[in-house]
Symmetry: none
Subunit: 244 residues, 2 copies
DNA sequence: TATGTATGAATGTTCAGACATATTGAGATG
DNA sequence: CATCTCAATATGTCTGAACATTCATACATA
């Protein structure tokens, strides 16, 4: 039996403490595989708090679609949890990390710009709406490898002053409680123009792998529109798709 | 002063009724422009329900970022409000469209060749082993779009005389009881060489989207090694990764 | 003028409990 | 054996209350 505890004297609200506790709890494989979480009444009793406070915490996770409550049965972790999904399309960073290659940011620019037509249609926002645009040039010691251009939906609440050196989806999840769940991608090949050739340190006309990606939350609402320009000579985009 | 009412005898929960009420309320221009919504205590009293029930409703809208609550001030409609509820999936412009339907084979060649080193390593087979190689040039009316080069593992049992005009994976599943379960892909961008430029009817040096794919059965054993060369001007490779 | 201070108003947090409703499984009934 | 009933269990809904925290404002003070 796990033992939890709650600090009644802390300034952080009890429900926030429970929320953190649950976020840790649902990482445990047992729960990932469908085991029922401790029921509300028992958990409240064990923690020495009210059931309402427990519900306040679980409510949030249910809203985020991390948990699923079933009347008369109990609460479980939503299947097809985000962690596995993220691995699929962020496998790139992971692979680089596992190979011992240190991938780092060369430059990060964040600014507020008026959304162009493509972004507006994607985000379903009005003309002249400003969105946060972020450019990240990333690469290894020997040089840049990829230029990311991201547009974030205003709903997310990013200001542009965040610490973007940490993994982006961690930032979104922890600070903004925005979970990236679905991504739709389009991949194509283009030739480097003047701007790309300068930023990626290649010649004009060199092949560039161009990838568009729309990242949405579990509710299908768009979070980010991401454009990636990869140096084709130093990068291969890998994907693993499981059917079924 | 607006008059609201709540049906205590209805089967729809009170908080749901309040939620609907609020959703209507926030469409009113006054509130859109920042006017404070009726405060919780007053609203609860007016509706004859508990403040907690009102909060239960507002909580949901706050989570959806339709409302913003400010301690000590009140509750307002979130600016950059998204009234048009986003439907299930955003309309990401498939540049590829449904071209796949009118796709047809230009030419199919099947022949038995000695596996080269890359194929041997992938299939774990001995030197001088023969494998079935298949080349398919596919495209639309206006011209070819993609050149597929496939190598099939001898274990599958293909002879080379099959009807390759039907969908490949149907053929494998129905006639050879081989199920394609996992595919690993690597995508890159290259420039067209002489051979590619002739087959795809483009110029030497034009960008080509190059995709390697290893298709395996559920046991992880390789079935097919597939190389795809896509004309980048007429094709975008789209991937959708979703939950469920 | 500038700064501190009290006050009212609003949301934030938390409690303890009552009753409703869906699910599941065990046991009774045919 | 099949089916109905019932009880245990878990979440769903709702109440009324108390106190904390934050904000804006008006007022008093230096």
């Amino acid at each position: 039996m796990e033992t939890f505890n709650i600090d009644h004297s802390s300034t952080t609200p009890l429900h926030a403490q429970v929320e953190d506790l649950l976020r840790d709890l649902i990482k445990i494989p047992e729960y990932q595989e469908g085991k029922l979480l401790p029921n509300e009444v028992a958990l409240a009793k064990q923690l020495g708090i009210s059931r309402n406070t427990v519900r306040q915490a679980t409510n949030k996770l249910v809203f985020e679609r991390l948990l699923v409550r079933k009347k008369g049965v109990g609460t479980t972790v939503a299947k097809n949890n985000i962690i596995t999904k993220l691995d699929k399309w962020s496998s790139f960073t992971h692979e680089m990390g596992e190979k011992g290659v240190s991938f780092r940011n060369y430059r990060i620019d964040a600014s507020w710009v008026e959304a162009d037509k493509e972004v507006r249609q994607l985000f379903h926002i009005a003309r002249h709406t400003k969105v946060l645009k972020m450019e990240r040039l990333r690469g290894v010691d020997s040089g840049p490898v990829v230029l990311f251009v991201s547009y974030f939906h205003p709903r997310v609440g990013l200001t542009g002053n965040e610490d973007f050196t940490q993994p982006l989806y961690d930032l979104l999840e922890k600070q903004y409680h925005t979970v990236a769940a679905v991504s739709k991608e389009g991949i194509s090949a283009i030739l480097a123009d003047a701007e790309l050739s300068e930023k990626l340190e290649i010649e004009v006309g060199d092949p560039v792998l161009f990838r568009k990606r729309v990242v949405c939350d579990p509710g299908g609402r768009p979070i980010e529109y991401n454009l990636g320009y990869y140096r084709a000579d130093s990068f291969t985009y890998t994907i693993e798709i499981k059917r079924e």
